[in-house]
């Protein structure tokens, strides 16, 4: 049986207490919420924190609060199952519901949290393996080694941002509230991620993601398409979140964000620009979809060949945009 390495476990009941424990233990400490991403990594000895600081009992993390005409805030500790159970969320933010419904499988969704999903560690076929396997390979740059087997010539880690929630939050213009030892700050979801497989978050280890604020998105349409081999369990190896605001038949504002094709979610501004000011008609959509595929450079470190993922990015971009245009393409399979 794969077992966890020993650790100390803290279950603070307030943010202050949590922050204190985190600063007491410094880099040896690790925040845990649902544990669905962390515990497998600990069992594979990818990370071995000495202290786990659970945020489950902190009341500020567990709310869903609607603000009149100003959107909603979701506590970071709200489980994915709770997000899905909330019909108003699905109506206001269809992309969020689509993304959460496609995460892993039902038990994981009743354990995992929205904050946990946004902070999920980057993934790589060379990294998400047991200690034995990684030792046999000769450890990689992300953990214990000096070379990245994906791109051995380079100096950076190419592990892949594998959150379904991240591209959606960026597309919906979410703001994330963080609290740290030096106070709190709110940053745009887009600023939360860094293009680095190791330091993939702009969050300091001792900062706690407290809540997600989704702005009111009246007049917007949104969706999320996900590529993976099976209809459940699998992480995304391509995720595409699209949100458009339509005004008199034309796209006033668009956001197209790709997940799981690089170390951070990627906004495709060229594609957004193609859509903005135009009606969502087939030729516009096709041009935007081509721009999506052009802008990404997936590597060979997830399921599916990287060129295949690049190709499907444009197919899914088209399908997502047609869906939002109200002219869904028929004959297409997959994409959840």
């Amino acid at each position: 049986m794969l077992r966890l390495p020993p650790f100390q476990y803290f279950a603070p009941r307030s943010l202050d207490e949590a922050l204190r424990i985190l600063s007491d233990h410094g880099p040896e400490a690790q925040i845990v919420a649902g544990g669905t991403d962390l515990y497998p990594k600990m069992k594979r000895r990818q990370i071995q924190p000495r202290a786990l600081v659970s945020v489950r009992r902190i009341p500020e993390l567990s709310h869903i609060a609607w603000m009149a005409h100003d959107g909603v805030t979701l506590g970071a500790g709200v489980t994915l199952a709770r997000v899905l159970a909330c019909e108003n969320l699905a109506i206001a933010y269809p992309a969020l519901a689509r993304a959460c419904a496609g995460i892993a499988h039902p038990p994981i969704r009743s354990m995992g949290t929205i904050g946990g999903n946004l902070c999920i560690d980057t993934r790589c076929t060379y990294y998400d393996q047991t200690f034995f396997w990684r030792e046999a390979l000769g450890f990689c740059l992300k953990k214990g080694g000096t070379v990245c087997p994906v791109a051995p010539g380079g100096t950076r880690c190419w592990a892949v941002s594998s959150s379904d929630g991240a591209p959606v939050m960026i597309a919906l213009g979410a703001q994330l509230r963080l609290i740290g030892p030096h106070g709190e700050r709110t940053i745009a979801a887009e600023e939360f991620y860094r293009d680095d497989g190791i330091q993939y978050l702009a969050k300091a280890p001792e900062e706690i993601l407290v809540e997600v604020r989704l702005p009111c998105r009246e007049g917007w349409r949104s969706t999320y398409w996900k590529l993976r081999r099976r209809g459940a369990i699998d992480f995304p190896v391509l995720g595409i979140a699209v949100a458009v605001c339509m005004e008199s038949g034309r796209c006033r504002e668009a956001r197209i964000v790709l997940g799981a094709v690089g170390s951070c979610p990627k906004r495709i501004r060229e594609a957004e620009g193609i859509l903005e000011g135009n009606p969502l008609e087939p030729d516009v959509i096709e041009a935007a979809a081509r721009a999506v595929s052009r802008a990404i450079r997936p590597l060979e470190n997830t399921d599916f060949l990287h060129l295949y993922r690049k190709k499907v990015a444009s197919v899914f971009a088209q399908r997502a945009l047609h869906e939002l245009a109200g002219t869904p393409l028929t004959g297409g399979l997959s994409g959840t």
Partner: protein
């Protein structure tokens, strides 16, 4: 746990799965990967399916845990258990406890699920023997029986 209280002193890093099997001797909960990838260790916590391989007992203090051993009612099999036995839904039986519990969570929430909804509810529980077909049949039959019983 299954309607009983268990004071326990175990290392904090022992998962619920390990504690169930090794400390409480409730070996009905199975394991196939210990990484949250197969669903064999599914138990119910306050009625929701949870993977016992990724849960720590300390995180569940005060909550109600149901394992397969706790599903019988007064020594009689739960409708899901009888339906699984009758419909051929059990071959090797190793995925069965987890699947039965995932199905229970579904039927308690949605007494009349469609076949697609059943498949989605069980999509985290891998089975290599049955091709899932007789499992879906059994959940449908158990659902019907539970509805009858209620009405």
């Amino acid at each position: 746990m299954n309607g009983e209280q268990h004071p326990l002193a175990v290392p904090v890093y022992k998962t619920l799965l390990e504690v169930l099997r090794e400390d409480l001797h409730l070996t009905g909960t199975k394991h196939g990967c210990e990484l949250g990838e197969c669903g064999a260790c599914t138990v119910l916590v306050d009625g929701e399916p949870v993977l016992s391989c990724l849960a720590l007992p300390i995180e569940l203090e005060g909550r109600e845990i149901l394992t397969i051993e706790g599903l019988m009612e007064g020594g009689r099999p739960h409708p899901l258990q009888s339906a699984f036995a009758e419909m051929g839904a059990v071959q090797c039986g190793y995925c069965t406890p987890g699947i039965v519990l995932s199905a229970k969570a579904l039927l308690d929430r949605n007494p009349m699920p469609t076949r697609q909804e059943i498949a989605e509810a069980l999509s985290g529980n891998l089975c290599r023997c049955t091709g899932y077909i007789q499992i879906l049949d059994a959940v449908e039959r158990a659902g019907a029986r539970m509805r009858e019983r209620r009405s």
